[in-house]
């Protein structure tokens, strides 16, 4: 009799345990289904990149199309200079590793919801970004394809990054010196004309 009761209770516990596991699985599935996609890359990056070295290596690499697949959909963190700010509904920064022209055009896109994060960035500023790599556009080798030849703009490769996150931003030196001059002139004006 005692054994029968004990077996019934064990059965109950097992059923409850299975129901709990299934319930947790359903809850997890619903959570994953409705979990919003990330619009910017945060957390630990997959790669910490020196942009100058990386772009030079990619530019020199004749097998870049296959080499670059290791970076697709991975996050990279790097320093760069902003050469231009483009876009309308969402902002894209055109970047270069230094003040000189870049061997590869770099486009770093911010989601429309991140517009406020980058609205103060202008050409000439220095930035630290973390972005997701989407692709390296390599010029087509088919001379008969006029359309592709148009895109490839005299042989430039283009690096496309998205879901970018602005980690650090410093204004260009000329802006800083202008603001310092402005502060100095304001101070001297106030000294001459005290209110």
């Amino acid at each position: 009799m005692g054994l029968q009761i004990s077996m019934k209770m064990n059965k109950k516990r097992i059923i409850l345990l299975i129901a709990a596991i299934v319930g947790l699985g359903i809850v997890y599935g619903i959570y994953m289904y409705f979990k919003p996609a990330s619009v910017s890359s945060t957390g630990e990056p997959d790669f910490n990149i020196n942009l100058t070295t990386w772009l030079n290596d990619l530019d020199a690499d004749t097998a870049a199309t296959s080499t670059f697949s290791a970076y697709i959909n991975k996050s990279i963190k790097f320093d760069a200079y902003v050469s231009d700010v483009v876009g309308d509904s969402s902002i894209t920064l055109m970047l270069s590793p230094g003040k000189e022209e870049s061997p590869i055009e770099v486009y770093a896109n911010f989601d429309a919801s991140m517009k406020k994060e980058v609205e103060a960035v202008v050409a000439g500023d220095a930035v630290t970004l973390q972005c997701i790599c989407n692709g390296l556009e390599i010029p087509s080798t088919d001379p008969s394809d006029e359309g592709m030849a148009l895109l490839d703009d005299l042989g430039s490769k283009q690096l496309k990054l998205s879901r970018c996150h602005l980690i650090n931003h410093s204004k260009k030196e000329s802006d800083l010196s202008v603001s310092r001059e402005h502060e100095t002139s304001e101070t001297s004006e106030n000294n001459e004309n005290p209110q």
Binding site: A37, V86, S90, N109, G135, G147, L150, Q158, R163
Partner: protein, 193 residues
Amino acid sequence: MKRAFILGTVIFSVASALNAQVYKTATGNIKFVSKTAIEEFSANNDQVTAAFSPKSNAIAFRVPVNSFQFKSALMQKHFQENYMQTAEFPFSTYSGKLEDFAAIQTASANFSKNGTYDVITKGTHEMHGVKKDITVPGKITVANGTITLSATMNVLCSDYGINIPAASKKSVSDNIDISINCPLELAKEKKKK
């Protein structure tokens, strides 16, 4: 007579130079929508590279497929890894020409007169490693030096070897609605490599 000849040569040279310009963007927009009886979802991409040459009548687009942004993280992951296999096929491209190019050129005064012009483009679309010849109606809008290419079209996933699992067929449509909007500007001169 001599003055008229020189003036004519100068005007012709300027017109030829303008005609030789290429209009480009690296931040064009493409959006797609999948609609079934039980589910509708969409994704947006602001990293389309597009170019148009009024001289050669060549038009082209290159879309980094990984740049499509979904609302749902799970859908984005499945799209990239299972449907489009973006590690293997990171880009979708289109290369073609405008039909009735001469008529559009005249109507738009060589793409300098503000207005919206109905166009048809024929060319090759490559996606997921599959090439297809397609014909797409669209519009070219000229406004103060900017040319905007816009179009809506449908693609069938099955035409491009994109397999929708049986379990997902009720929520993912084989027929995808695509809308394209790419404002182009005159490309800057670059040094040849």
